[in-house]
């Protein structure tokens, strides 16, 4: 592990991907980024492009129209990357979980499309719970960097 990789553990950048939710988890996520909880203590910064990000934070269950965008955003994040699913919708589909007959509009949890590393259940999870999940994500990121 080079000096760059060591330094980058202390500044994981985060891209917030909202794929079809009720906005509850997004509000809690923004609260976690704001001064009250201040995730910048861990060097986490919200970035406007997935190409700059290390952590992909997804909220909400994926609608069928949004499937190509989720895949594209995931591919745009450079390796090594970590996906954190926030909220019950993003973890297991929650109320939108449907077995047969299949729902015409909603696919379900993003786990069906992209590999998720950390799940944070809750409806909506507290900002502290999101921080807890993201910190676990950082530890996974460090592991992935060490393997590389």
């Amino acid at each position: 592990m080079g000096i760059m990789d060591k330094a980058r553990i202390y500044s994981p950048w985060l891209y917030h991907l909202h794929c079809g939710g009720c906005n509850g988890c997004d509000i809690e996520t923004l609260a976690a980024l704001a001064p009250r909880f201040d995730v910048e203590r861990f060097g986490i910064q919200l970035v406007p492009s997935p190409r700059h990000a290390d952590i992909l934070l997804t909220t909400g269950c994926v609608p069928k129209q949004f499937i190509p965008m989720v895949k594209r955003v995931y591919e745009q994040v450079p390796e090594p990357k970590v996906v954190v699913a926030v909220g019950s919708c993003a973890c297991g589909g929650s109320l939108f979980y449907d077995d047969a007959p299949e729902n015409y509009a909603i696919l379900g949890h993003p786990d069906l499309l992209i590999p998720v590393d950390v799940y944070v259940p809750g409806c909506a999870p507290k900002p502290e719970a999101i921080i807890n999940g993201v910190v676990q994500g950082i530890l996974k990121l460090a592991e992935k960097r060490a393997k590389k």
């Binding site: 009250r36 019950s88 786990d111 799940y119 502290e128 676990q136």
Partner: protein
């Protein structure tokens, strides 16, 4: 004058404590590192001794998070937290007050099969005297009898009570099949008019 007070307030505010909560670690002991409001609905917890396995929580669960399945003479009552919306409907519906919402919120897990993502309760099932099929828990049978005795018409109370005791230990199928042999058949209520 008022502007001077405003300035003074602004200056004094610089000396107040920072409002950032230092979650996940308490850096300074006097500073709060997390805020848990009263009535926060966190992970639901089930008391194993109180639960009777009656499926009331299963029927009210809006997100289909609760599931109940019987296997090897054991009834497993499960809440899958990935589908739970923490609405506390199960807490309201539970007749035995076995489910309680706690204020624990740290439930981040690395995969779906993690035991932390499920609230599991295993209950022993009674086996049928006749055919050996597991059918209900001991507590559920007792509670059904108690509730039946509370609400039943006093005219048939004694008959039903003795019938129920005769049937105790048989599964629903055997009760139906051996009703005549055990003398618990409903034919004896025919003479009762207006009940």
């Amino acid at each position: 004058m008022s502007t001077e007070i405003k300035i003074l307030k602004q200056v004094l505010s610089k000396y107040s404590k920072p409002m950032t909560l230092t979650y996940p670690s308490a850096v300074a002991p006097e500073r709060r590192y997390s805020q848990i409001p009263e009535g926060l609905r966190g992970i639901p917890e089930r008391d194993k001794d109180k639960c009777i396995g009656c499926r009331a929580c299963y029927f009210v669960c809006s997100g289909r998070a609760t599931s109940i399945y019987d296997k090897d003479a054991k009834r497993t009552v499960e809440i899958f937290l990935f589908r739970c919306t923490f609405c506390a409907h199960c807490q309201e519906a539970c007749p035995e007050e076995a489910i309680k919402m706690t204020n624990k919120f740290e439930i981040a897990v690395p995969n779906r099969e993690d035991p932390a993502a499920r609230v599991l309760t295993e209950l022993d099932l009674l086996k049928c005297k006749n055919c050996g099929t597991p059918y209900a828990t001991r507590k559920l049978a007792d509670r059904t009898y108690e509730r039946l005795m509370e609400k039943i018409d006093p005219i048939v109370k004694e008959t039903v009570s003795s019938d129920y005791k005769k049937l105790d230990g048989y599964c629903p199928d055997c009760r139906r099949a051996y009703g005549v042999d055990l003398d618990t058949h409903t034919k004896k209520y025919v003479w009762l008019e207006g009940v």
